[in-house]
């Protein structure tokens, strides 16, 4: 019979070893990915440009409609919620400042990241996972082709480029959503609204949002690829890994967001 302490520390140790292995594997994947993205092109082994372009289309271009629609709605919602309080103070014009700052600093990047995590993070995990299950990853290795270079690097490049780009679109459309509601329903004069937005919005608001978006893109790619490479069995595991890739990447996006928000709050 094992004592309670033995059972407790045994369970704790197993858990800790498991997470340490996860951490080790993740850092190895990050290391390899950045080696093949940054270092090896300098040594004359270029990245796969055509595959990267096709990933740009899949993860970025095809996300434009859904990102735009959601950003537009959120702009409207934000303006209405702000008006609900500001109206009582007679400060309705500040709707413009609130919408402008919250969209560019916060909601633009995070909404985009959550949509892309659901669309592309899951797709990465499913694609790499089913390739792993069908021995296609083994086949790549046996042909002397590094699977990280072949599969992950084009996705990472696409995400690093397209998440900031989609965020710019989300910012623009979100601002327009707030503007649209304010000039129609709230009766704010368009030129006043634009002037107020311009005076309260600073370059750094947009810039910090884009830095966040870049980091979210890296996080989503790594999480999706990691979950995909972890698949050992068959279809069922591909499904469960895809699910966890979405859950974990949304979680990571929020954690990174917290980190950057705190950082930029004190930096600026």
């Amino acid at each position: 019979m094992r004592s309670i302490a033995e059972i407790f520390f045994g369970a704790l140790g197993r858990k800790a070893l498991g997470s340490l292995k996860g951490l080790h594997d993740t850092s190895r994947l990050i290391n390899t990915t950045f080696y093949w993205t940054v270092v090896s092109p300098l040594r004359g082994k270029p990245v796969r440009l055509r595959a990267s372009v096709s990933e740009v289309v899949k993860t970025g271009y095809n996300s434009i409609p859904i990102v735009s629609v959601i950003a537009f709605f959120v702009g409207i919602i934000l303006a209405l919620q702000a008006a609900y309080q500001l109206k009582k103070l007679g400060a309705l014009i500040y709707v413009a400042s609130l919408v402008g700052v919250s969209i560019t600093r916060e909601l633009g990047p995070i909404l985009t990241a959550i949509i892309v995590a659901g669309r592309s993070g899951s797709a990465f995990a499913a694609e790499i996972g089913s390739m792993k299950a069908a021995e296609e990853v083994d086949a790549l290795i046996s042909m002397g082709i590094n699977p990280v270079r072949f599969l992950v690097v084009p996705k990472l490049l696409a995400m690093m480029l397209m998440l900031p780009a989609l965020t710019i679109i989300a910012d623009g459309v979100g601002l327009f959503g707030g503007f649209f509601l304010s000039v129609t329903l709230l009766g704010i004069h368009p030129s006043n609204y634009i002037q107020q937005t311009a005076s309260s919005l600073m370059h750094k608001d947009v810039f910090t949002g884009l830095v966040k978006a870049w980091a979210f893109g890296v996080a989503i790619t790594i999480v999706g690829a990691y979950q995909g490479f972890k698949v050992e069995g068959g279809a069922e595991e591909v499904g469960s890994r895809t699910t966890s890739s979405v859950v974990i990447s949304i979680f990571m996006v929020i954690v990174f967001d917290l980190f950057f928000t705190v950082l930029f709050y004190f930096l600026t």
Binding site: E135, I141, N146
Partner: protein
């Protein structure tokens, strides 16, 4: 046989899967320019052995010498150089489903050579013709039958004109006629290109058709290594059981069985 040069030598190879021992210190040699069949029942460790030979898995201990270089001690860069001399046909062919057959076959050429695309196209057509798939360049793997996928996988494995060809259960899941066709293709490759071929299988008809040299594994040990004729006359009980398709003898006594199902 002794005058033949060994292309692959395995010395005291030990491997584990988790805590379970899969291969218990096995040693054997694969002669150059011949077809060697690694034979054995399910779960004897033959697929694991193949993954070690192509450098997908690292052994717990022991040496795997390919052209006298120990791949068990190589880093990934050195391994990739060796891998360019190897072609592997996986059990499910493992073609990349997102690419056409032509792109699949062209992939190793595009990655490892600086050939013009027009040259690559010609080589792809040659390889596909070799396996009897000319005219299927623009098909996707999902549009092909199992036997055609395997032949396409073989064309890809042949793309860089390798010294070594490895087959994992080539006839698994194929009807006898298609399987025999694949066996004939293996023979042709050995005779025409003088390749060193290693086939992992448990299909006896195929063994007798293609093998020059046979290695039989059982429960993680080599129980037989020799030519096909030596295999036919071997007196080893496991070899006889395998060749005569006799089932495992009853392992439980009725009392043991009762104890087993009662769960203690």
């Amino acid at each position: 046989m002794t005058e033949m040069e060994d292309a692959i030598k395995v010395n005291n190879l030990v491997t584990h899967y988790g805590d379970r021992v899969i291969l218990k210190s096995i040693s054997f040699a694969v002669p150059r320019g011949q077809t060697t069949v690694i034979l054995g029942g399910s779960g004897c460790g033959k697929s694991t052995l193949l993954k070690h030979l192509i450098g997908l898995l690292r052994p717990t201990s022991g040496q795997i010498l390919i052209n006298n270089g120990n791949i068990a001690a190589m880093n990934e860069g050195e391994l990739d150089e060796i891998r360019k001399k190897m072609g592997v046909l996986f059990q499910g062919a493992a073609l990349l489903n997102s690419m056409t057959l032509a792109d699949n076959v062209a992939l190793p050429l595009r990655e490892h050579t600086k050939l013009e695309d027009s040259t690559i196209q010609i080589m792809v057509r040659m390889k596909l013709d070799l396996v009897g798939l000319s005219g299927f360049e623009h098909f996707f793997p999902s549009q092909l039958s199992g036997g055609m996928k395997k032949r396409a996988g073989l064309a890809r494995a042949m793309a860089l004109d390798p010294e070594f060809l490895f087959f994992d259960e080539p006839s698994a899941g194929l009807d006898p006629v298609t399987a025999a066709g694949l066996d004939k293709l293996i023979l042709k490759l050995r005779d025409v290109f003088k390749m060193t071929i290693v086939v992992v299988t448990h299909e006896l008809p195929s063994v007798f058709m293609i093998a020059d040299y046979v290695i039989m594994l059982d429960l993680g040990d080599v129980v037989f290594a020799g030519t096909l004729d030596e295999l036919r006359i071997s007196e080893h009980p496991r070899v006889r059981m395998f060749l005569e398709r006799r089932p495992e003898t009853e392992v439980y006594s009725p009392e043991d069985y009762f104890r087993f199902i009662a769960g203690d």
